[in-house]
């Protein structure tokens, strides 16, 4: 049987090989992430059926839990690791043509480390291990944001680093507190004993951990770095940051709150926080003239929506939240990839500079349009079933409060539709002055965009393809006892 350890070991090993390969051929170095992501994708998908029946618990170093470091490969972990691998694969294909200048070998190394970090976070069953992978993810993304080395990149990276480092320090304090309280770092072990301790220190630990992870998860008001970093990074990195990194952060928050702390009574707070994040993200995006910044704010909004859905904490809503994660990864990554080349051709980040792109880059614009439709939640694209699930599960709950809140969520969706459709109009229907020759994105970039398009359409039409995984993922997140039982035996 394939072990989930391979999902970390192989890419990590390959990441360290990138500089070696780069010595031989700079071009070949770009293919290493492709191979590693492909490997991860295949392994994750192969493991999925097994994991659906019973989660795989792998002990590093052979110590049984709660002593050694545990990897817990449940449906959520496998789903997210498959998603990371898929996005990683497509974006690394895109980068083959997009990342041409600068220290490309280092780019690919850091990029792979980022993916390893993200995969590690979703697979680990150990709190400190989570911190370590989280730091791998963060540090490589700080560096990648500054990859271009222009003013905006440096500024964004510095700000991101300061906030991120502060967050990780808080996270580490929280982990230290947990260790001091329980004398263990194993998530399941802590979860089993969480009620045995006075609630105030546990709450402080939880607050520290939520805030620490929340910086990466873009929860309002911890998300100030996000618009800067996502808009200043190279577009391939923006795609990964928006599509993968913040979602992994949110996953970590959810895993800690749901599984480790079992804090069902603070969930209402997270519902409100999610809604607030959603509204603020969408409103800020509405007033943007910079296309990448608009997409970044929209990511904040989407994170809010996902958090809202997860915090309702019914099987339906968590399924919807996980579905929205998948849909956001595919759609937002696609948007960043498409915008990457549009911006490259127009030479400006202003939305108005995209005029006439529908004629200059028809295929890229088409991919962009599909991404927008999906993100706004129009059928028959993937955003539709995910939003449908969220709304359905929220409406199924009794009580006026949630119905009012879902009204606000729908309102935010309208705002989202408004600013995105304005861009569609600019791309296709604004008459531009000088006719410029048609020059679409290079074939490799187009290929990567259309892989996303294919997924968006296919899952949008047949959402049942992934609902099984999502539902068992939801029950994994909601049923702590099973988690504890399957780790500790």
């Amino acid at each position: 049987m394939v072990s989930p350890v391979l999902l970390l070991a192989v890419p990590l090993g390959l990441a360290l090989c990138v500089p070696l390969v780069g010595r031989v051929s700079r071009r070949a170095a770009g293919f290493v992430p492709v191979i590693a992501s492909l490997f991860n994708l295949v392994v994750s998908i192969r493991l999925l059926p097994t994991v659906l029946e019973e989660p795989i618990v792998a002990n590093l170093g052979g110590f049984p839990p709660p002593f050694g470091i545990t990897l817990f490969a449940g449906p959520v972990g496998m789903l997210l690791s498959a998603l990371i691998a898929l996005a990683g694969l497509v974006v690394s294909l895109y980068a083959l043509s997009y990342i041409k200048t600068g220290p490309t070998v280092r780019y690919h190394t850091l990029y792979m480390l980022l993916l390893v970090g993200a995969t590690g976070v979703v697979l680990t069953g150990d709190v400190f291990n989570l911190f370590v992978f989280f730091e791998i993810l963060c540090i490589s993304s700080y560096a990648l944001v500054a990859y271009v080395g222009d003013r905006a990149g440096i500024e964004a990276s510095v700000k991101y680093l300061i906030q991120g480092a502060l967050g990780s320090a808080l996270l580490l304090i929280g982990i230290g507190l947990l260790y001091g309280l329980f004398g263990t770092l194993n998530m399941a072990d802590i979860a089993a004993r969480i009620d045995s301790v006075d609630s105030v220190p546990v709450f402080v630990a939880m607050a520290l951990i939520v805030v620490g992870l929340g910086v990466e998860a873009a929860i309002f008001p911890l998300n100030a770095w996000l618009p800067d970093a996502h808009s200043s990074a190279p577009s391939s990195i923006s795609a990964i940051l928006s599509g993968i990194a913040i979602q992994v952060g949110l996953y970590a928050v959810v895993r800690m709150v749901f599984t480790v702390f079992g804090a069902s009574s603070v969930l209402l707070f997270f519902v409100f926080l999610g809604l607030l994040t959603l509204l603020i993200g969408e409103l800020c995006a509405f007033a943007q003239n910079n296309i990448k910044r608009m997409l970044a704010y929209s990511s904040i909004g989407q994170m809010g929506l996902i958090m809202f859905a997860l915090a309702i904490a019914t099987t339906g809503s968590v399924t919807g939240g996980l579905f929205q994660m998948v849909s956001h990864t595919l759609s937002k990554a696609l948007l960043f990839l498409a915008v990457g080349y549009m911006v490259y051709r127009s030479g400006s980040l202003e939305i108005s500079s995209l005029e006439g792109m529908g004629r200059r880059m028809p295929l890229t614009s088409f991919a962009f349009t599909i991404g927008v439709f999906s993100l706004v939640g129009l059928p028959p694209f993937i955003g539709f079933p995910s939003k449908l699930l969220i709304v359905r599960s929220a409406l199924a709950e009794q009580g006026v409060l949630l119905q009012v809140l879902i009204g606000l969520v729908l309102l935010a969706t309208v705002i989202e539709g408004a600013y995105f459709f304005r861009v569609i109009q600019t791309v296709y229907f604004k008459k531009e002055e000088g006719q410029e020759a048609r020059q679409d994105a290079p074939p490799m970039a187009l290929l990567s965009m259309f892989v996303f398009v294919a997924f968006i359409v296919v899952i949008g039409v047949y959402p049942n393809l992934i609902t099984d995984v999502l539902e068992s993922g939801a029950s994994e997140l909601l049923e702590r006892a099973n988690y504890i039982g399957s780790v500790l035996g």
Binding site: F128, Y142, I154, E155, L161, L166, A169, L172
Partner: protein, 119 residues
């Protein structure tokens, strides 16, 4: 006094954390800010060590007969701190590298001058 005696490490650790946070909060110079981050990291590391430390404890090695596990220092936090230090150094190195680039681009280390990305 016994309170101080029992908790001196924690007080020290959180003192460092507080100093670090204060620096990050009020200083505008990037280098000072990085120093603050470093102090913060040190405080956190010290906190981790204190969690597992026992006054007059021995190393957790059964090097001679008669050693009781109760008198041993918890080795796990020390392992954690080793990792945390490495991570801290990585962040520090990256931050300093960025600071150099920042200075080259902006001609200053004052973060208030770097407000091109906003709203």
């Amino acid at each position: 006094m016994s309170f101080l005696h029992d908790y001196v490490y924690y007080i020290g650790a959180f003192g460092l954390v507080a100093i670090g946070l204060l620096i990050i909060l009020v200083k505008r110079n990037l280098i000072k800010l990085i120093i603050g981050l470093s102090i913060l990291d040190t405080g956190v590391n010290m906190f981790l060590i204190s969690v597992g430390y026992i006054r007059r404890g021995t190393a957790p090695i059964f090097s001679r007969p008669g050693l009781e596990p109760d008198g041993m220092v918890d080795p796990v936090p020390q392992a954690l701190v080793l990792t945390a230090i490495v991570i801290g150094v990585a962040i520090l190195a990256l931050a300093l590298a960025l600071a150099v680039r920042f200075y080259k681009t902006y001609g200053t280390l004052d973060l208030r001058k770097a407000k091109e990305l906003r709203w």
